[in-house]
C-alpha cells in the first residue's frame, strides 16, 4: 500500500495560519466534534462536567465545550481530539442520548485579536448579519456567511471561532481573509 499522507481541510500538510493586522486566523484541525440530542422527554446530561447551555449559548470546561444548536440539541467540542473517535467517548458520558460524529464534516477557524474585542466585532459586522455588540463571550449561533451555513462562537472577548462545512473550507477562509484584510487596509 502506498504511503498516505494526512492533509488538513485546506489541503495542506500543515494547518494554515495567517496574521492580518491585529487579527490572526488559524485553521484548527484538532477540534473533535460530536452532536448530542436528547430523546423525547429526556433530561440533559452533563458530559465531561459540562453544563449544556441555553439557546444561543456556549459553555466550556477544560478542554471540552458545548454550544446550543437547536431545541434539545447541542454540539460538543473537544480540543485536541480531532483524530480520535470522540463520539464514542461522548456516548459513554451521555447514555440514553443520540450522539453523532461530526468532526470530519466541519472545519474550524479560530480568530484571535491582539487588540481586544473591537476588531472581532468589526469583522463580524462585515461577515454576518448578527448583532455583533450583543455577541459577547459565551454566545454561539448558526447563521449564513456568504451563503454558507456556519457556526459562530465567541470563546472570549478576543477570540472568535467560525465553524463551517469542510467541503467549503477554501471559500470560507477566502471570505474571512478578504474581510480581515480590508479591516487592515482601512
Amino acid at each position: 500500500m502506498s504511503d498516505l499522507k494526512p492533509i488538513s481541510a485546506l489541503g495542506a500538510a500543515a494547518p494554515r495560519l495567517l496574521t492580518l493586522g491585529t487579527l490572526t486566523l488559524r485553521e484548527n484541525p484538532g477540534l473533535g466534534l460530536a452532536s448530542l440530542a436528547l430523546r423525547r422527554g429526556g433530561t440533559a446530561p452533563s458530559p465531561f462536567g459540562l453544563t449544556l447551555p441555553d439557546p444561543g449559548g456556549w459553555a466550556a470546561s477544560g478542554a471540552y465545550a458545548a454550544f446550543w444548536t437547536g431545541p434539545d440539541q447541542w454540539m460538543i467540542e473537544a480540543e485536541g481530539r480531532g483524530e480520535e473517535d470522540f463520539a464514542a467517548a461522548l456516548k459513554a458520558e451521555a447514555p440514553g442520548c443520540s450522539i453523532t460524529e461530526q468532526t470530519d464534516g466541519w472545519v474550524a477557524f479560530e480568530i484571535t485579536s491582539v487588540a481586544g474585542g473591537a476588531p472581532l466585532s468589526r469583522l463580524m459586522e462585515k461577515l454576518v448579519n448578527v448583532d455583533a455588540a450583543g455577541f459577547g463571550p459565551g454566545h454561539a449561533t448558526r447563521t449564513g456567511l456568504e451563503h454558507m451555513s456556519v457556526f459562530l462562537i465567541r470563546r472570549a472577548e478576543d477570540r472568535l471561532a467560525i465553524i463551517g462545512m469542510r467541503t467549503l473550507a477554501g471559500s470560507l477562509w477566502h471570505a474571512i481573509e478578504t474581510a480581515a484584510g480590508r479591516l487592515v487596509a482601512v
Binding site: 423525547r40 439557546p55 444561543g56 447563521t143
Partner: protein, 104 residues
C-alpha cells in the same frame, strides 16, 4: 425583514425559507373515511387572505426549527412567531386527550 425567533430573538429573514400556510400542520389521517377528499383539500386548497396569515417558516441557516409566523400580508408586518413544535403539541393535546401522541 426581521423574524422574532422565540428562542434566539430577532433574526434576519434571509436565514429562513418559507413553506406556506400553517394549516399544513393539520395533516389528515390517511386511513380515515373520506381520506381522499380530505387530502385533496389538504394538498390543493389554500385561503389567500389580505391581512393576517399564519404561515410556516424554516430557520434553515439557524437552529433549523420550524416556526409558525403570524404576518399581515398587506403590510408585511410580522406580529409574532412561535415554535411549530409547540403549536403541534398543544393542538394534539387538545385533540386527543387519551394521549395517542407518541404514535408519530
Amino acid at each position: 425583514m426581521l423574524i422574532p425567533h422565540p428562542l434566539l430573538g430577532p433574526r434576519d429573514a434571509q436565514e429562513f425559507t418559507y413553506l406556506g400556510d400553517a394549516m399544513m400542520i393539520d395533516r389528515p389521517d390517511g386511513l380515515a373515511e373520506g381520506a381522499e377528499a380530505a387530502f385533496c383539500d389538504y394538498v390543493f386548497q389554500r385561503d389567500n387572505p389580505a391581512g393576517l396569515h399564519r404561515e410556516l417558516w424554516f430557520h434553515e441557516q439557524g437552529d433549523r426549527s420550524w416556526l409558525v409566523v403570524t404576518r399581515n400580508t398587506v403590510t408585511h408586518e410580522i406580529l409574532g412567531a412561535e415554535l411549530a413544535r409547540d403549536v403541534a403539541l398543544a393542538r394534539r393535546a387538545t385533540d386527543t386527550p387519551a394521549d395517542q401522541g407518541d404514535a408519530q
